[in-house]
Subunit: 294 residues, 2 copies
DNA sequence: GGGTTCATGTGCACAGATGCACCAAGGAGC
DNA sequence: GCTCCTTGGTGCATCTGTGCACATGAACCC
């Protein structure tokens, strides 16, 4: 069955009983209504209406169409009101994606957001690959570093994640503690395995120490972190993750160029919706409390 | 929500994920699809799809539309198959109307028809007023006499209802039995009250006997019949109704010009359907068995 | 019974929707 | 890194569908 508009026209004729009445409701000329009915009946090969001087009386088929189209109209009306209201309410699915490293920071934010808006179902996706906002994979992405800013995306700065150079007490007991950058000779380091890394502190580390000094390399950030904690070498960690571990010693004072700027990225189509705006506001509020760690 | 076709277009885009695919399925140019989506989103004030190089990905609203339109398409498909098959099956409602006088004859016909086609719901309407086929009030009408044949109606002869001139034995005991038409003087007659009657035997009676001889007149055919049975006078009765009453005596041999020709009338739009045809065949078969009474 | 009103039906002119051609851009595969 | 292919986007010519005017017929009211 092609041409749903003709069904809609026939529906109004069946409901009102006259072509003229249907034409007025539909906002078209009554000639159009007649032509729609004629075309529909011709294609169906069956009469939907009995024509007479007082109007159109639906046949059995016409009454069948009436009841089906009646529910269709109601369904569509509900659909429209849902869609129109959808931008105005804070409900439904909210998909947030970020790098795995800051999941600790974001999870409580998600939780309190859901407390505030119970109708929201949060999906928090962390994966190695970068989720694509323009494919509709997520509403909001939180990313680090200065990534490519695609034209369809809205980018907002969130906060700066401070990274520090740490070593475990067990490492210091074995290899000593370098007093400064000049004292790095002979020390062992932990660094990401990837040659090209976007993290500024890892770029700094690769530029500063000799490649042979990198005793432990891994692709997984969590693995690197564990290596530092277990004394495999001196390495970078997020300050907020190292802060509560008394076994870790900060080797050098933190430098601003090690910081990773966090950015909030939303697709321009979704950025305007109240749901996304509510989450952005909530996220920025929560980020103020991160100051102690950044 | 006006313009159901745009919803249908959006449905196919959401289902297939690409504008080109939807255009092919819908049999239109892909530019048309784009314009439909744009118009729909503009009117809704919400994005239904995220556009990207690999196609259109439905948003939350788009997925909502998808599921609603999915069921709509299925409903319409069912509707179409019902309507297309409706002319081919013998089921649903069958509305038959006739004059009250032959309800005795028709009721068993209805019963056996329903036995043969259990899916048919029969409505047998008898009323003083003439039901109008062109208003869809009935599928089949059985009428007597030579009525007006409207252009939209299909008229078929059914059979002839024989009428006879009867008197009760009690009447004959009191007033004697006329041997012939010439012997009618001094006798009492029962006739319809209406000056203009379409029944041929009543026209004959009014033309034959003096008005003063009409001792009993009524508008209701059943009342006239009862009057004859009770001995109020000599009067016409349907032969099939008088045959099984031993108390009634036929005064004159039946004449062909007293017969009422029965006609089957159907609306031209409904005449072709299998349901009506099945009933007409069944009715004509049954009418052959009426021969004994006609 | 005649005028009035409201209904459907149809020829014609126009406009908005459609199709076409072409362009641009992003993946996929080599 | 290259080309090929698929997909979306847009200006322009065309055509189908729409609106208008008018005709026609039936029912209703005075």
């Amino acid at each position: 069955m092609e041409n749903w508009d003709e069904i809609r026209t026939a529906f109004q004729v069946a409901r009102l009983g006259t072509v003229s009445g249907a034409a007025e409701v539909l906002g078209v000329h009554h000639a159009t209504v007649i032509r729609h009915i004629d075309a529909l009946e011709k294609r169906l090969g069956a009469k939907l209406f009995q024509r007479h001087a007082r109007g159109y009386t639906p046949t059995e088929s016409g009454r069948d169409l009436l009841s089906v189209a009646q529910t269709t109209e109601e369904q569509f009306a509900h659909l429209v009101s849902r869609i129109k209201g959808q931008g105005e309410t804070v409900a439904g699915e909210l998909v947030v994606t970020s790098i795995a490293g800051i999941a600790d920071l974001l999870t409580p934010v998600m939780g309190s957001f859901q407390d505030k808006f119970p109708d929201v179902r949060v999906r928090f996706l962390t994966d190695m690959r970068v989720f694509r906002l323009d494919y509709g994979e997520a509403h909001v992405a939180i990313r680090a570093g200065a990534g490519p800013e695609e034209p369809d995306n809205v980018v907002q700065p969130l906060s700066r994640i401070k990274a520090g150079l740490y070593a475990s007490r067990s490492y210091i007991e074995r290899f000593g503690r370098p007093a400064s950058e000049a004292d790095f000779g002979g020390h062992r380091f932990v660094c990401t395995d990837a040659e090209v890394t976007r993290a500024p502190f890892h770029r700094w580390l690769r530029a500063t120490v000799h490649p042979d000094q990198i005793a432990y390399a891994a692709t997984e950030p969590a693995a690197l972190e564990l290596a530092v904690r277990q004394g495999a070498g001196i390495g970078f960690m997020m300050s907020f993750r190292a802060a509560d571990d008394p076994n870790l010693v900060e080797i050098l004072p933190s430098r601003p160029d090690w910081d990773s700027p966090l950015r909030i990225i939303t697709h321009v189509d979704l950025h305007r919706t109240r749901k996304v705006q509510a989450f952005l506001t909530h996220l920025k509020d929560a980020a103020k409390d991160w100051k102690s760690c950044t």
